[in-house]
Amino acid sequence: MKTITTDFEYLPATTVEEALDMLSQHKDDDYKIIAGGQSLCTAMKHRLIAPEYLIDIKGLTDLDYIKFDEKEGLKIGALATHRSLEKSQIVREKYSVLCEMEENVASVETRNWGTVVGDLCNADPAVDPAPPLIVLDAKLKIQSKGEERTVAAEEFALDFFETTVQEGEMVTEIQIPVIPPNTGVYFTKYSQMLGDYALGSVAVLITLDKKKEVCANARIGLAGVDSAPVRAKKAEEVLKGKKITEALLAEAAEVVKTEINPVSGIEGSEDYKRELAGTLLKRVGKVALERAQKA
């Protein structure tokens, strides 16, 4: 029977200010922030980590929100669960790709308790929300006592289970701009079982010009195929300013293979993951294009 064996000091916060105070006070200590804890509890049970302090932010109900504004776009508070994003009517209407992504994140039970921001902060290289957030040009608001900064989604994760969040800081919000007109977005992950972490996942955003002929803008985000989620800028350049065809997507797929650094594992070799990224890009790009044409 696995359980958490080492004791820790439990510090529940009820307001953002209180949480930031706790973080600043324990800046130099061995602490972890827990929100839903769907990855953290498992890591603690497997004895991969044993923090001395656990700052519990699950009670910060003022950060449990999903708000949309026609000018500012979508704002997802740090305590919004995966399930609330999946079930949000406004998100389904304006950012359907996020709901589609959520439907395959772990299981319903995990989505009911785990938070989107917590998932990003855990920084598994195959984290599901990262590729769609990268292509949607999302930013993460990071706060510490008396300070605040924002980081682009593509620059948030640095390496395996490592993010730009420093001691004393916490992510409080995801900010996603309004999707421009003539734009299509799509995301797919490939995993051995529904709800597993991705072996590879790709999100593509395509914005067409006014006549809907030429690609005005393209963004490509991937996860599971590098030490952190990545944006494939070179592959994006292949698509920009051209009429997107299957041949052009195949060309971009060849480029994407050179832009990623997958790690071989029992679930797939490095070469396999490069091929997977290319194949997914072709499939996902096709759907994104169709959506842009209909948008």
């Binding site: 004791d7 820790f8 509890c41 656990l54 039970e109 529904l194 709800g195």
Partner: protein
């Protein structure tokens, strides 16, 4: 240092002190004796430990008990009404939806939360809902059938509750048809 925990389980409130590292499943099984909630994989992969917290199905093996402070928990023991099984439990029996039964309490709790939210689901919706639940003996088809059957049972139970009093039966369509003589 132990901390105070206030929870309501199956309608009864409990108040005691726990170590912060205690997981919800241990509180339920070892401290309160609700052993119907099972532990299997213990790593958030199988969903056998599923219970309902404030109306939502969650994995009790992956939640700190203190995070459930002040909330309402329902376990499989909270479903039956005395000797009468809950329609979902009965549907699992009648549809042969388990053999060893180890995963069953988790399956039933997930089905309960799901049918509360979506009383008339399709086969595909049930598949999506239950995809995190692992059964290694029965096969998932019978479980899916049991949940669809349970949905029907719950709906007819609801309909029975709403049946009009005797005097209003006249207004029913069949009664009108019978009166007008236009029946088959």
């Amino acid at each position: 240092m132990k901390r105070e925990l206030n929870i309501t389980v199956n309608g009864e409130s409990y108040n005691f002190f726990v170590e912060p590292k205690t997981l919800l499943v241990h509180v339920l099984r070892e401290m309160l004796g609700f052993t119907g909630t099972h532990q299997a994989c213990d790593s958030s992969s199988c969903a056998a430990c599923t219970v309902i917290v404030d109306g939502k199905a969650v994995k009790s093996c992956s939640i700190l008990a203190l995070q459930v402070n002040g909330k309402e928990v329902t376990t499989v023991e909270g479903l039956a009404d005395g000797a009468n099984l809950h329609p979902i439990q009965q549907a699992f029996i009648d549809n042969w939806a388990f053999q060893c039964g180890f995963c069953t309490s988790g399956q039933i709790m997930a089905a309960k939360a799901f049918l509360d939210e979506n009383p008339n689901p399709t086969r595909e919706e049930i598949q999506m809902q239950m995809d995190g639940h692992i059964c290694r003996c029965t096969g998932h088809n019978m479980i899916n059938e049991a949940i669809r059957d349970a949905a029907k049972r719950l709906q007819s139970r609801e309909a029975a509750k709403k049946l009009p009093a005797q005097k209003n039966l006249q207004s029913h369509k069949w009664a009108q048809t019978a009166k007008s003589g236009k029946g088959a």
